[in-house]
Symmetry: C2
Subunit: 203 residues, 2 copies
DNA sequence: CCTCCTCTAGAACGAACGCTCTATCCAGCG
DNA sequence: CGCTGGATAGAGCGTTCGTTCTAGAGGAGG
């Protein structure tokens, strides 16, 4: 049991289950839930259908929920990297948008938020997925909120602003994908910095 | 030719083509592009498959593009209603979010932005749809921009802020759907009003 | 009357869907 | 050595997909 990857199976040294989750996460990000088939997943993950259903007996929904949690962590890494890049809050926020813009352009405007598409497709129709999505959003808000508090923004303000920061980033990323331009993200960064500045009279 | 609706065909007095577009628009809004089948559309529209392909020989993509344009107009109506509701800019913006929140709750958090889901699903894979989406976003930005100029915000600022207003509304609506709560929208309204206020020293 | 043309109607096609199922492989252990 | 059980492998199930195709309904113009 737990054979893991033994000795560099398949193309990389990562176990079958992990390969399946990663492939699913990337496919959901790019083509959404309905647009991604289990067979396509098993193909891209270099796993067989049998393996997919072995590790995820709950089928497509369970697999998608796990992939959403993976995307959650992925996005959190970027968020933390940006927010931790500077003592100055405004700079930290614009670094976030810059990081997102860079990744988006590098993927030819394909890799937006890892979970948004799936989230929208499954609203009110796949509870397991919905919960994973809700947890991801809460997780990201918590990361931002903590940074805002570190910058001296207090109580209710930090919580609410964290929500708006995440929402605006989401909207800007969507816009950037549609327009194939980094501009919406950069503009969002500047506007968010400006909004946050109104909560701290001066530097 | 142009029989239109003659004498109150089907359930309502609207012609077949229009019924198809409306049904498609609502289905795309709720289940996205891949999750919506042509046969389901023809069923809901009370039209036959033959009629669908008669009016939209370009198939699903052409039909979706037309539905996106329909959703564009629909959202524009709400936007104009909100923005035109008050002389005060801040109040006008929060009215927008209130209208969106009301509609969202009334549909049990199902009817978010009419085009976002389809937009994300088709990024980089369905040019006809992508263009309709891009035009819708540009349209909405133009509506907001005009209102901002009427409020005395000038030049580049109005253009950029209009983009951020739309983006933040989009993100907040997504969040509201996921969280099944009006809060993200109301918060977004307040934060947007606050951001805009920094461009006009006082009332 | 017949002709033409728009629109309606739905059977049928090959492909893909999610999922089930049986069979096999193989490391660990008694 | 055989046994056990996790993991792999993929054929095949019934269903639905987007699309094509032929046939007919119904009104307008000759």
């Amino acid at each position: 049991m737990k054979t893991a990857q033994s000795t560099a199976e398949k193309s990389s040294s990562v176990g079958t289950r992990e390969r399946i989750v990663r492939a699913t996460s990337r496919l959901l990000q790019r083509q959404g839930y309905e647009g991604t088939g289990i067979k396509q997943i098993s193909r891209e993950a270099e796993a067989t259908l049998g393996s997919v259903y072995h590790f995820f007996p709950g089928g497509k929904q369970e697999l998608a929920a796990e992939a959403i949690r993976h995307g959650d962590q992925e996005f959190a890494v970027i968020l933390r990297a940006g927010l931790g890049s500077s003592e100055d809050l405004a700079e930290a926020v614009t670094t976030c948008t810059t990081l997102l813009a860079r990744e988006l352009r590098a993927s030819d405007w394909q890799d937006g938020c890892p979970i948004t598409t799936t989230a929208l497709e499954t609203v009110g129709r796949a509870p397991v997925i919905e919960q994973a999505v809700a947890e991801a959003f809460a997780h990201w808000r918590a990361i931002v909120e903590e940074r805002l508090r570190a910058a001296g923004i207090g109580g209710e303000d930090a919580r609410e602003l964290a929500g708006t920061v995440i929402n605006t980033l989401e909207g800007a990323e969507l816009s950037a994908q549609v327009a194939r331009s980094e501009d919406p993200l950069h503009t969002a960064g500047r506007h968010l910095a400006r909004l946050l500045a109104t909560y701290r009279p001066s530097a």
